[in-house]
């Protein structure tokens, strides 16, 4: 699987939507991130021009916020929570297990663009620690058997060569 091709017309429409807003940069970037999964590096100049900013300012904002990325992400973004409650309840071993199962390190995307592995500081579902999110879905009270099932559902076979 490849990251999706950028539909530049859609892109223009997003820019137009936010053009008239005050302080539009972050909402605009978030919209692009949400729609395409990342912010293409080539688009920075266009964005800067539309909002009357310097390209360096746009790049500076993208690089500051963890939620904005210039690298395409996988179809399923797995966010393992590393918050305090999850940590106290064994979140480290969950992360280790997921890393091993997917063959990915934090911040990495599988070569088939199926999975991206990230960690997040706290998802606010602490009562279900340890927790992880796959895209918008939460999974709580995790354990290795549960993880194997969840990952299998998202199309990962246990023990298969991941980056093949």
């Amino acid at each position: 699987m490849e990251p999706q091709e950028i539909d530049w017309r859609k892109f223009e429409a997003i820019i137009d939507k936010h053009r008239v807003e005050t302080w539009a940069l972050i909402p605009l970037l978030q919209d692009i991130q949400e729609t395409f999964g990342y912010i293409p590096e080539e688009s920075i100049e266009t964005i800067a021009e539309a909002l009357n900013l310097f390209p360096s300012q746009v790049q500076g904002v993208i690089s500051f916020y963890a939620g904005l990325s210039m690298k395409p992400k996988g179809k399923y973004v797995i966010r393992v929570c590393r918050g305090t409650a999850c940590h106290v309840k064994g979140g480290r071993s969950i992360l280790r297990f997921v890393k091993k199962e997917l063959g990915l390190d934090e911040g990495e995307t599988s070569s088939d663009y199926q999975f991206t592995l990230e960690t997040v500081a706290c998802l606010g579902a602490c009562f279900l620690a340890p927790v992880m999110m796959v895209n918008r879905t939460y999974f709580g009270k995790l354990s290795p058997p549960k993880l194997t099932n969840i990952l299998a559902e998202y199309g990962k076979e246990k023990g298969e060569d991941k980056n093949g």
């Binding site: 302080w23 539009a24 940069l25 972050i26 909402p27 970037l29 978030q30 300012q57 500076g60 904002v61 500051f64 916020y65 963890a66 939620g67 904005l68 590393r82 918050g83 305090t84 409650a85 999850c86 940590h87 106290v88 309840k89 064994g90 997040v120 500081a121 706290c122 998802l123 606010g124 579902a125 602490c126 009562f127 279900l128 620690a129 927790v131 918008r136 939460y138 999974f139 709580g140 009270k141 058997p145």
Partner: protein, 1039 residues
């Protein structure tokens, strides 16, 4: 719905809604916010389908609501007006709920909350202990209304506060009311809200702004999320009131993007407000113009800081700036801006609607109202709680939270997230308030409370928090950017076993500097977790650095498996358990003997610190390690018994050991193994020390002790019986006789006296615990009759009571000064004693012993209990006016032991420590006289046998170093045995069927009290095999 043009139109609308409400309808409140992460959506669909199927849509409403609070039991639903609350509900339960509870008023046991003690179901929410101490004000609507349906909010009294403000109060009056209510910022800093509003109101500049900080970034905090998801209008109405009071025209809510449901519900709520004209121009015809826009965070914790937040709203990098100017003077766009936290805003409508008199009914002197806490971590009832400010931490964690799972011990609670400090056990009775928490180095913070137990490592927690703040540091100011990186590096090194003792002072210095020089709150508070853990848990840091020991058995670099690390003697548990599974019992015992020459004894009486840390215990129950050890050693003594030959003597030096108890014999054994000639001097005619003297036959048969001692003697250790070391034959004499080193392991065998009136020597019927047990053990004829009173709460007291029962006492009662839970005795023994008919009377302290003509007739007690002051110091408080008289023929005093150092001659150079024992170096056990070492109970006071054994081995290593002329510390780290058994045990198991721990069989209580037979039966071969296969082989895990 048309725009409301006036207050009257809003009230008309409200009346219409109220009239349309169907009082008779049953309503199922299904939490669809937090519980959605655990299957609530499917549950709701199932309930709706079932209601429809049964044709009950007219009478039953299935409503999606916000959080019910007891999130640990998700999914949760409440049935109104019945008052029944069901938990852990699955979609499959829908039919049962409709059929039984709704139609037949029958309550369903398996869906009800279970009482912790009795296990009985509690069906009604108002009887569930979790809710009893809570006061739901801010969360009043949460769990009742549908947060996406504005009419619910209005019907519940929503938007009455803004109406009151607009029609009957001036903006200044609104500010005065909020100030008088003593509402303090709930975001954590606790600044008086009304005063902050006043600043913004008085500041010059237009337009003014209102901001709601909904960037709840503290890991472990989810209060704001619940309010935003469950009752968003409460927050928005608060902002509307604030806008009126301050004179603001624009508002922003800054929500972190990781909260999609909160964002969704806020968007809906804002749309609804706009539609009704509650936002926009000329709100309700009052002339107030105000709009609110939603901004989403983009994944930066620092944007929770107000100046960084404002920068982010302006589309910039979220970097803080210096204050002054404060936002009230110059905020967004340089204009006066008032920022408040979600919970603070949600309190405002309550204050205005109900008045400050009502509001100030709860709370403390300086901080009124309630606070929402998110309870998480090692606590049974994780979830959301709302309590009056001023309740104690104990109330929240133990009453509301129902304590620590699996009966583990509370260690600390982190309050205030990465900006806060840990609160250890001595402060459990502290009232929760902004000021009290600050005094002990923590903060109230936003409300996150993460509970930790004995299996957490405080150094690792500090490292964890630093890794968070370091990665979230924006990088603008050097103290934070560089300081957090350095602190993280130091803490990481310590957890990796590469710490240095100077690091401790460095952490303090660095921490203080970062706090006083950082630009914003992130840096100013980032060192606090490290400083507070260092303050309260200094020993953990020192142990990591000097001894490579992790109290929680967490830090990978020093822990191979938690069980081995928890064992004071460092026995390679997984390998000896695996050897048993492989039927290699002799090998198993050999592995144990690498660290502990008393496997059969420990297999019976060790309190197994290993099992308390066993990771299998996280899944179901710990592996029965102690019983497995007993099984293997019993087999050894039945089939083999003695070693093939003694250890060869390869060294010329000889060592003397004083005392043939577990400590002395362990030291002798390991010294002999190293090739030294060892002679043990024992004052009694038998060896074993406390083992043979004080522990009753029914817990540890003499035969077992004899077999272990004989084994050690066969290894080449010479024991000279009836050879006391005392004034006639001193330690100095031993040195002059040519012993190159002496180890003193003489134990702690003098009984303590209570020193109360009536405690006179020679009274008939008055005994001291240890002497009593010794006499019985040595065969003395003691027949008790009638009533026996035992004073004390430790293992000796329990052993005394059970022994008394077996030598004729008709009735034995134990009296202890504190609660049963505070008794130091091993829980297992307490339970077995109760099974045998012994009565335990807590909270009674002895006042006076009554005797007549030299014989005891009774004893008078007075009420007593442990009390804590606010500083956390505990003491015993007695009430002499509340007394009881107890008749008794025999009183046995077992309140504790102390070492008897009278045998050391008075002019001995050996230093004596405070409470009468010997002062030794903790690492080498060396006394102030070179070549003389001491350890075990003799130096520490009464302890557990495995500690005594570990001490003996440490002494052997230290003496060996000394005799070789080596300097430096004794390093004892976890090591794998060379005799590995690399089978995976539970790891190799394919099935997921349940494998509970094999129960240890006991002799029947009514039979076993008749004599001194061993109470515990050992495992059978088959049982041992099955139990050993439960081990998860944590030691084979790749790090």
């Amino acid at each position: 719905m048309n725009r409301l043009l006036s207050i009257e139109e809003l009230e008309w609308y409200r009346n219409k809604i109220l009239a349309q409400q169907d009082e008779g309808k049953i309503c199922l409140h299904v939490c669809m916010t937090g519980c959605r992460a655990y299957g609530a959506a499917d549950l709701r669909s199932a309930l709706e389908a079932e209601v429809k199927k049964q044709g009950l849509s007219g009478q039953v409403e299935v409503r999606s609501t916000g959080c019910h609070g007891i999130c640990a039991k998700a999914p949760v639903m409440y049935i109104d007006p019945l008052g029944v609350q069901y938990q852990e509900v699955s979609p499959e339960d829908a039919t049962e709920i409709i059929d039984l509870t709704l139609k037949k008023n029958q309550l369903i046991d398996h869906l009800a909350y279970k009482d912790a003690l009795t296990g009985n179901p509690i069906y009604y929410r108002n009887q569930i202990p979790f809710y009893k101490k809570q006061v739901k004000r801010v969360l009043g609507n949460c769990g009742k209304i549908d947060p996406t349906n504005m009419e619910h909010y209005i019907a519940a009294g929503g938007y009455q506060a803004i109406v009151k403000a607009l029609s009957r109060m001036t903006p200044d009056q609104v500010i005065d009311e909020v100030t008088a209510a003593k509402l303090r910022g709930r975001g954590g800093a606790g600044f008086p809200t009304g005063i902050k509003w006043g600043f913004a109101r008085q500041a010059a500049g237009k337009p003014k702004y209102i901001i709601c900080n909904a960037d709840e970034g503290d890991p472990g905090a989810f209060m704001d999320r619940a309010v935003l998801e469950g009752d968003p209008h409460a927050v928005l109405e608060g902002m509307l009131i604030g806008a009126y009071a301050i004179g603001a025209e624009h508002g922003h809510i800054y929500v972190r993007e990781e909260y999609p449901i909160a964002i969704e519900h806020l968007k809906i709520a804002l749309e609804q407000m706009k539609e009704l004209g509650l936002l926009g121009e000329n709100i309700l015809g009052s002339g107030l113009n105000f709009d609110i826009s939603l901004k989403m965070g983009a994944g930066a914790f620092v944007c929770g800081e107000e100046t960084a937040l404002m920068a982010s709203i302006e589309g910039k990098r979220g970097m803080p700036r210096a204050r002054p100017p404060f936002p009230a003077q110059a905020g967004l766009n340089g204009k006066p801006t008032n920022i408040n936290n979600v919970e603070t805003w949600a309190n405002v409508p309550l204050i205005i609607k109900n008045g400050m008199e009502w509001y100030t009914q709860v709370g403390t002197e300086k901080s009124k109202g309630t606070k929402i806490f998110s309870l998480a971590g090692k606590v049974n009832n994780t979830g959301l709680v709302e309590v009056p400010i001023g309740v104690t931490i104990r109330d929240v964690i133990f009453d509301i939270g129902d304590g620590i799972p699996k009966g583990r011990r509370f260690k600390a609670v982190q309050m205030g997230g990465p900006s806060g400090g840990c609160v250890p056990a001595q402060y459990l009775n502290l009232p929760i308030d902004y000021d009290t928490l600050q005094r002990i180095g923590s903060i109230m913070g936003s409300g996150g409370m993460v509970v930790m137990d004995e299996n957490n490592c405080m150094v690792e927690m500090a490292r964890f928090f630093l890794s968070f703040t370091q990665s979230e540091s924006c990088g603008k100011c050097a103290p934070c950017r560089l300081g957090t990186t350095q602190l993280l590096e130091i803490l990481t090194r310590i957890t990796q076993g590469r710490g240095r003792i100077e690091d401790i002072q460095t952490i303090r210095d660095l921490g203080e500097t970062i706090i006083s020089t950082s630009l914003c709150g992130l840096g100013q508070t980032a060192p606090k977790p490290a400083l507070s853990t260092l303050n309260f848990f200094l020993e953990e840091y020192e142990d990591h650095i000097l001894e490579h020991r992790c109290a929680g058995a967490v830090c990978d670099s020093m822990v191979i498996s938690a069980c081995q690390h928890a064992c004071p003697a460092g026995i390679d548990v997984p390998n000896y358990v695996a050897a048993i599974a492989a039927d290699k019992y002799e090998k198993s015992v050999e592995i144990i003997r690498e660290r502990n020459p008393f496997p059969a004894v420990c297999g019976r009486i060790c309190i197994h610190p290993c099992e308390l840390k066993c990771r299998r215990g996280e899944l179901d129950e710990p592996v029965a390690i102690r019983s497995l050890k007993r099984f293997a050693s019993d087999w050894y003594f039945d089939h083999i018994g003695k070693p093939k030959e003694p250890f060869p003597v390869t060294k010329t030096q000889k060592v003397a050991v004083v005392g043939a108890g577990p400590t002395g014999l362990t030291c002798a054994y390991f010294l002999a193994k190293m090739g030294y000639k060892v002679t043990v001097f024992e004052s009694q005619s038998v060896a074993g020390g406390m083992l043979g003297i004080a522990i009753p036959e029914f817990r540890l048969p003499r035969k077992v002790i004899q077999e272990e001692v004989a084994y050690i003697e066969s290894c080449g250790v010479e024991i000279r019986y009836n050879s006391p070391i005392d004034a006639q034959h001193t330690v100095n004499d031993l040195l002059e006789e040519g012993y190159h080193s002496v180890f003193i392991g003489a134990g702690a065998q003098a009984s303590k006296r209570i020193n109360i009136p009536g405690e006179e020597e020679g009274l008939a019927g008055l005994h001291y615990g240890l002497q009593f047990l010794t006499d019985i053990r040595s065969g003395k004829e003691i027949q008790l009759k009638g009533k026996v009173v035992v004073l004390g709460g430790g293992n000796v007291a329990i052993d005394v009571a059970r022994t008394a029962l077996r030598v004729g006492a008709q009735d034995v009662q134990i009296f202890y000064r504190r609660t049963k839970e505070e008794m130091p005795a091993w829980e297992k023994d307490i339970e077995e004693a109760i099974e045998e008919g012994i009565v335990i009377n807590p909270l009674w302290a002895p006042k006076q012993i009554i005797h007549n003509g030299g014989t005891i007739t009774g004893i008078e007690f007075m009420r007593s209990m442990t009390v804590f002051d606010e500083e956390g110091h505990s003491s015993l408080s007695v009430n002499e006016k509340v007394t009881q008289m107890v008749e008794a023929e025999t009183i046995i005093i077992s309140i504790g032991q102390a070492p008897d150092i009278s045998f050391l001659s008075k002019d001995s150079q050996l230093e004596r420590a405070l409470w009468g024992s010997l002062a030794v170096d903790e690492n080498t056990l060396a006394t102030n006289i070179p070549s003389v070492f001491a350890g075990g109970d003799f130096t520490t006071g009464p302890s557990i046998v495995i500690n005594a054994i570990a001490s003996g081995r440490r002494a052997a290593l230290a003496i060996d170093k000394y005799l070789k002329g080596e300097k430096g510390r004794v390093e004892i780290v976890d090591e794998k045995t060379a005799m590995k058994e690399d089978i995976g045990l539970a790891l190799d198991e394919e099935t997921t069927e349940e494998k509970p721990r094999i129960k240890i069989q006991l002799e029947k209580p009514e039979e076993r009290v008749r004599d001194f037979r061993e109470v515990e039966k050992g495992f059978s071969k088959e049982e041992a095999h099955r139990e050993a296969l439960r081990c998860l082989r944590c030691d084979l895990e790749e790090k």
